[in-house]
Amino acid sequence: MLRQTLYGSLILAALGLQAGDTVKIALTGPFSGGSAPMGTSARDGSKLAIGEINAAGGIQVGAKKMKIEIIERDDEAKNERGALIAQELAAMSDLTGVIGTVNTGVCMAGDKHLQEKGITKIICPAAGSASMTQWANKPDKPGVKDNSIFRFAAHDGIQAAMVVEEAINRKFTKVAVVFDSTNYGVSGRDDMLDQIKKQGNKLEVVAQEKFNIGDKDMTAQLLRAKSAGAQAILIWGIGPELAAVSNGMAKINLKVPLIGGWTLSMSNYIDNAGKNGNGTLMPQTFIEEPITPKAKAFIDGYHKAFKVGRIPSPVAAAQGYDAVYIMAAAVKQAGSTDTKKVKEALEDLKEPVPGVIATWNRPYTKWDPADVTTHEAFRREQTVMGMVKDGRVVFGNDADRERLRKSALSATPAKAKAKKK
């Protein structure tokens, strides 16, 4: 019964409610092309949350309840489309906030328009480090004083640390670093090399191999890694090429683990790699396993509402879902749909926000150009290693399942506490 009203309201939300007494939130991302599994999952996760909020009457803004109205834009993972969309959104006078963007390049091209007008945006789920560090202090120029861009994703810094840590824990000493030639791949390689140094140089990088978007034959790169004696391949890239790497490894009989960024959980990696993808490890913030009642409700709700048996990118979907609840909590606390007031509320959320990944306790603090983590919600604690198994992503370590379950049930430590250590 409740579900039915929920879907009804989803449809209503999709149709767009009458203007006026609504909270306008824009959802952006690539809904077509190679990054689409992440873009559509994030959008649909957000829509699920918005449907629930609207079904309960909307957000309490001051004296009245207001429903959320969705503005949806497909950036096709193209930087120039992203810039156009950002300009359009920045010109809307009554926009409360933006949630979305998958591609780091799109963030770099578009977010400056939103930041200029002070429009609140929660980046979800683009993970590349550069999309937040572009606002921070740099050796040659100071960062922005006031920042309306927040992020809700485990950024590459965390992910690279986990990838290196996993390789060390598995007692490997020689690894090959493989990456694609985009901004995302190259900065991922830098993050990984950086982490290898930070974690005590326990890994020897015996090969550094690059590939291009669209490459299908990775034999040369992999043979070099094989003949150098690599015990694991640490990789940064996007779905289709990652699958070509897995298939190439099977062909030349290179039976070592593939460990890399969260893109290894994209459906177009899992499907194209088939059984060659089994055992691949990647950091995840959400695993499609009903470990808590809330996770079960979320997974079932997603499957039913969007008629799928598997979420194309569970991480993106769960982050999209929680990001909406965090934005809604900020609107409620601000008592206003004004984007600048919402930004201030986001920087100081008084009440914990229960989400499907965790209960978010003051996820953001006042922007400090010397410390990007003030606008980053995720910490190492909310991230686990996932593993591909027979077409799905499962927990890499059983201990993590318990840890994530606990963190989802109890509140995350408040930001101030987390920062001390």
């Binding site: 034959d217 034999t219 790169q221 043979l223 003949s227 289709p240 070509a244 298939n247 009989n253 194209n272």
Partner: protein, 292 residues
């Protein structure tokens, strides 16, 4: 260790090179009869692969899907001939160059709209597990490519030599005007060559997709190399494209191993320039003296 790496790179490169050879052979078929080439051949490869994937997804077995895909490719070849080539040839113009490119672009847009822009896996009953053979790992899929390519080329060559229709094909290739005077319809023969060329493109798509996945841009890289192979080998030697195709494939993968993957295409392009400078008719091409 080193020798086995050279062997591995050469063998897997040469097997991929056979796909270039097959597509190059498709160029030769139409060039022989009409002195024209379908510049949208890559899109035929791609659209036929998508069509075959759809047949598979509808539940048809692999052995039904293959002839179905070939037939579809042949039909597309006929469409290209009717829409892009015939009128231009009748008017003795070079309009077919632009027209075949445009038809290719049209197929590309159609594929994007019908099947979407994503790369998809192509199911096949042939296992992708490697077989260890003389220190080299080869997958059954790659062997299937070799068998399929050599098989269809052998069949078409047999057809050209042993059947009446095939002999008409050869006659038109040798001298179109003389063949017409003998009562052979050159138009029909050109249609036949485009149909065969389309079927060959479809087979290339079906053979290569399990290895590379299916997507709208799947053929854009392959087609350039196929074109190089056709030019280097000469536009009238079936035997030549197989040799040059395997050679170019092996050269590519060896150079991506020794020079780095960014240099993969370079030796092939140098080879192309050299061939055009030294032997414009192709390594295996015959210099034809046209009497005026």
């Amino acid at each position: 260790m080193n020798a086995s790496i050279i062997g591995q790179m050469a063998v897997s490169g040469a097997l991929m090179g056979l796909v270039y050879a097959l597509i190059a052979y498709g160029f030769q078929l139409t060039y022989a009869t009409s002195k024209s080439i379908n510049f949208g051949q890559g899109e035929l490869v791609m659209v036929s692969a998508f069509f075959s994937l759809t047949l598979t997804n509808l539940g048809f077995s692999y052995w039904f899907m293959v002839p179905g895909g070939l037939l579809f490719g042949a039909l597309l070849g006929l469409v290209v001939e009717r829409a892009g080539v015939r009128l231009a040839l009748e008017q003795k113009s070079e309009g077919w160059i632009l027209l075949t490119i445009i038809i290719g672009l049209f197929f590309f847009s159609a594929a994007e709209n019908i099947w979407g822009r994503d790369d998809r896996p192509f199911p096949t009953p042939i296992s992708a597990d490697p077989i260890h053979f003389l220190g080299v790992d080869v997958t059954r899929l790659e062997l299937a490519v070799a068998v399929g390519v050599l098989g269809i080329m052998g069949l078409i060559e047999l057809f050209k030599r042993r059947t009446l229709l095939g002999k008409a094909f050869e006659a038109v290739s040798a001298d179109r005007d003389a063949a017409e005077l003998m009562g052979i319809s050159a138009t029909r023969t050109v249609m036949l060559s485009y149909g065969l060329s389309g079927a060959v493109a479809a087979l290339a798509g079906i053979l290569v997709s399990p290895i590379t996945t299916v997507g709208p841009t799947m053929a854009s890289a392959i087609i350039l190399k196929a074109f190089s192979v056709a030019v280097v080998a000469g536009l009238d030697s079936g035997f030549g494209v197989v040799l040059i195709g395997m050679f170019l494939g092996a050269l590519e993968s060896l150079s991506s191993y020794y020079l780095g993957s960014g240099w993969r295409e370079a030796p092939g392009l140098i080879l192309l320039i050299l061939a055009l400078a030294v032997r414009p008719t192709g390594v295996f091409g015959k210099a034809i003296i046209r009497k005026v």
